[in-house]
C-alpha cells in the first residue's frame, strides 16, 4: 500500500497581472485627481473645530483676501442664470460671446463696469493683472446686487452661501459682507475653515467623547 503522492506546486505567483492592475489603478487615480487650480488670489482660511464638510453644490462663495478685496465664486450650475439675471437687472447689453467668457472665468473680481473686459483675461495672466474686487461699500454695493441676482436666479433651489475670508482680512470687510447678505434676507452662511483639533479637556471635547461612547457601547 503506497501512499498517494502529493505534488508540490511552486509557491511562486506570477506578479505581472497584479502589477498591471496596480498601475492601471494608479494611472486612473492620477488622471482623476483634480489638483487645486492655482488661484490668482491666495486665501489662507482660519482654523476651526468644525468638522462639517463645506457644501460643494449650488455654492455661492464670497471670498475676502488679505487686502480686504471681495471676490465672488459660483459653481457652474448657477453661474449662467446668475449672469443673465444680473445683466437684465442692470440693463446691460451682452452678447452670447460675453456669456461664454463669463462661464469660463474663474471668479468675479472687478466692478460691473469692468466685468466684460475682466472675463476676457486668460486665467494664467490673472496673476499679473490688478483688480479691485467687487465693491461692497455703502455707496455702491454691487456685492449685494450679485447676491440678489443669485437669489432670484436660484429660485426654488437651495443655495449654499459660503464666506471664505483670509486670516489677515480685517473685520469691517467681513461685517460688510454679512451686511450685504442681510439686506437680501439671508441669515445662514457657512464660513470656510480648515480643520483644527478640539482642545483637550474643553466642553466640546467632553461632549464629543460622550457621543462617541454612546455610539459604540462597550462589548460585554
Amino acid at each position: 500500500m503506497g501512499r498517494a503522492k502529493i505534488k508540490r506546486g511552486s509557491t511562486n505567483v506570477d506578479m505581472t497581472a497584479m502589477c498591471d492592475v496596480a498601475f492601471l489603478l494608479l494611472t486612473f487615480f492620477i488622471l482623476a485627481t483634480k489638483f487645486k487650480p492655482s488661484e490668482a488670489v491666495e486665501i489662507v482660511t482660519p482654523g476651526s473645530v468644525s468638522n462639517k464638510h463645506a457644501p460643494q453644490k449650488d455654492a455661492f462663495t464670497v471670498s475676502i483676501d488679505k487686502a480686504d478685496r471681495v471676490f465672488i465664486n459660483m459653481t457652474d450650475e448657477i453661474k449662467g442664470d446668475v449672469f443673465d439675471e444680473m445683466m437684465s437687472e442692470r440693463h446691460m447689453k451682452v452678447t452670447p460671446e460675453d456669456r461664454k467668457y463669463f462661464l469660463e472665468a474663474g471668479f468675479i473680481g472687478v466692478p460691473l463696469s469692468q466685468l466684460l473686459q475682466f472675463i476676457r483675461v486668460p486665467t494664467d495672466e490673472l496673476k499679473n493683472t490688478k483688480f479691485t474686487g467687487v465693491p461692497a461699500d455703502s455707496t455702491n454695493n454691487e456685492l449685494q446686487a450679485w447676491i440678489g441676482a443669485a437669489v432670484a436666479a436660484g429660485q426654488g433651489k437651495k443655495l449654499n452661501f459660503l464666506i471664505k475670508g483670509d486670516d489677515a482680512a480685517k473685520y469691517p470687510a467681513f461685517s460688510g459682507v454679512i451686511e450685504a447678505f442681510k439686506k437680501n434676507d439671508i441669515y445662514k452662511y457657512n464660513l470656510v475653515t480648515t480643520v483644527e483639533d478640539v482642545p483637550e479637556g474643553s466642553e466640546l471635547f467632553k461632549a464629543n467623547l460622550k457621543a462617541q461612547q454612546s455610539e459604540t457601547p462597550p462589548a460585554k
Binding site: L25, F29, A32, A168, Y171, K188, V192, T193, L204
Partner: protein, 176 residues
Amino acid sequence: MAEMEVKSGGGHKGPGVKKSKKKSTRVDLTPMVDLGFLLITFFIFTTTMAQPTAMNLNMPKDTDKPDEVNKVKESGSLTLMLGKGNVVYYYFGNDPATMQTTNYKDVRKIILDKKKSTPVDDLFVIIKPDKDATYKNAVDMLDEMTINDIGRYAMVNPTSDEYNKIQQTEKAAGVQ
C-alpha cells in the same frame, strides 16, 4: 521569489564545445507592485482629504421693534472686544469702565469661569470685534463659543465709547 532559473545546458557535449548558459528573463515584480499600491493609497487619501470644512453661522434679523430685541441680564453678560494685535478686552455687565485685557489663549478660562458662576439661562456672551480686528480673530472667537458650549452669543459692533476706550488702552500699551 527572486528566481534566476539557470538551466544547465543540455548535458555533456564533449570537450571544446562551449556551454551557452541561458538566463531567465523573468523579473521579480513584487517590489513594483508594492510601489504601485503605495502610490494608489497615497492618491486615494489625498483626493478625499482636500475638501475644506465649514462652520455654520446664523445671524439674527435686524429689527427696530423693541419687543423683538433680545434682553440681556446685566448679571449674566460678558462682553468680549477684539482689538488690534490679537488682544481681547473684556468686561462683565454693562460697565465698559471695568474693562480688562487678555489674549486668545487665556480668554477660554474667563469664559468658563463666567459660565460656571452664572445660571445657564442668564449667560450671554457679546462679541464685539472692532475695526482693527481681523477675520481670524472673529472666527476664533466664534469657535471659542462652540468649544465652550455657549448657547447664547451675539456678534455686534462696539459702541464709539468702547472703541475710544480700546484705542486709548492700545495707545497706552503701545499695541501696533
